[in-house]
Amino acid sequence: MSIELLIEEERKSIKQIEDVRTKAEKKIADSQKEAQKILDQAIKKEFIQKYLQKEEEKVNEEAKKVLNKYKKDVAKIKQIPSNKIQKMVDRILDEVLKI
């Protein structure tokens, strides 16, 4: 009777392990299918479009920074002190009247 109990216990154990192993194999197989899906999507047109859109957004952000740099330079040019301009005016005038 006791030996039978142990055999039953062992049988249950093998069954449990087999079930879990089957589930695990299915899980791995599913993940491989999912992986293939990920790869397929990577070259799908709409996915590429989406990716390009994201890249374009990044580039536009970069362009904004570039433009801001130019804007700062322009602001600097527009703020040339009047005495600096006056000095140049006098220098040009001297040259016009250097006869």
Partner: protein, 207 residues
């Protein structure tokens, strides 16, 4: 049930649990590995596929932004340069109208005539100017002629052209048959400097 049997039964249970845990853990690990590899490969494939497009798009957007930016810089510099030259223009108008007392316009005008006559290098000279200067030169022709002859060391035949020119000041001189011309107007001199002094002024203002 004997203690020994129970103990074996517990051992079977413990071994089973451990085996189940191991199977689940290995499977989870494998799933993570497969998905991670797929995502990495997808990223590589995607990057490779759109690489040229992204490079072209980037060159187009950044390139056009840089072009616009450089254009605004050039425009701002042009504006600043124009401002300086406009101020000189205003000053020249004041000088020619004798409003700026720091300058003696009659002396400037004489020097302009002398320089032009020297450049033309002929004895028969035609002089053109604006209405105001023509009137001044006509009224003082003999004095101007005498002074010029004294400084140049030869006789001159100066003729004033009646038609006034629309200029700030200064003169335009021709020889008798009009084959030679020398523009010694204030406007012309300023115009010439816009080109020749551009580098110097830009350096002084923008560097």
């Amino acid at each position: 049930m004997s203690v020994a049997i129970n103990s074996i039964k517990d051992e079977i249970k413990r071994r089973t649990e451990a085996e189940l845990k191991k199977i689940i853990s290995n499977a989870d690990e494998e799933v993570q590995k497969v998905l991670r590899a797929a995502k990495e490969k997808a990223e590589r494939v995607r990057t490779e596929t759109v690489k040229t497009e992204v490079t072209t798009m980037r060159r187009k957007i950044i390139g056009s932004t840089q072009l616009d930016g450089r254009r605004t810089i050039i425009n701002a510099k042009e504006e600043a340069l124009s401002k300086a030259f406009d101020k000189v223009n205003e000053k020249l108008i004041d000088i020619a109208n004798r409003k700026d007392k720091k300058f003696k316009y009659e002396e400037i005008l004489f020097k302009l005539i002398k320089e032009a006559v020297l450049k033309i290098d002929e004895k028969k000279i035609l002089v053109a100017a604006n209405k105001r200067d023509l009137s001044y030169i006509s009224s003082n022709l003999s004095t101007i002629k005498r002074k010029l002859e004294k400084e140049l060391g030869y006789k001159l035949d100066l003729t004033i052209m009646k038609e006034p020119r629309h200029i700030i000041g200064g003169i335009i001189v021709n020889n008798a048959d009009k084959t030679k011309i020398f523009n010694n107007t204030l406007d012309g001199r300023l115009m010439g400097l816009k080109g020749s002094m551009r580098g110097e002024i830009s350096k002084a203002l923008f560097e």
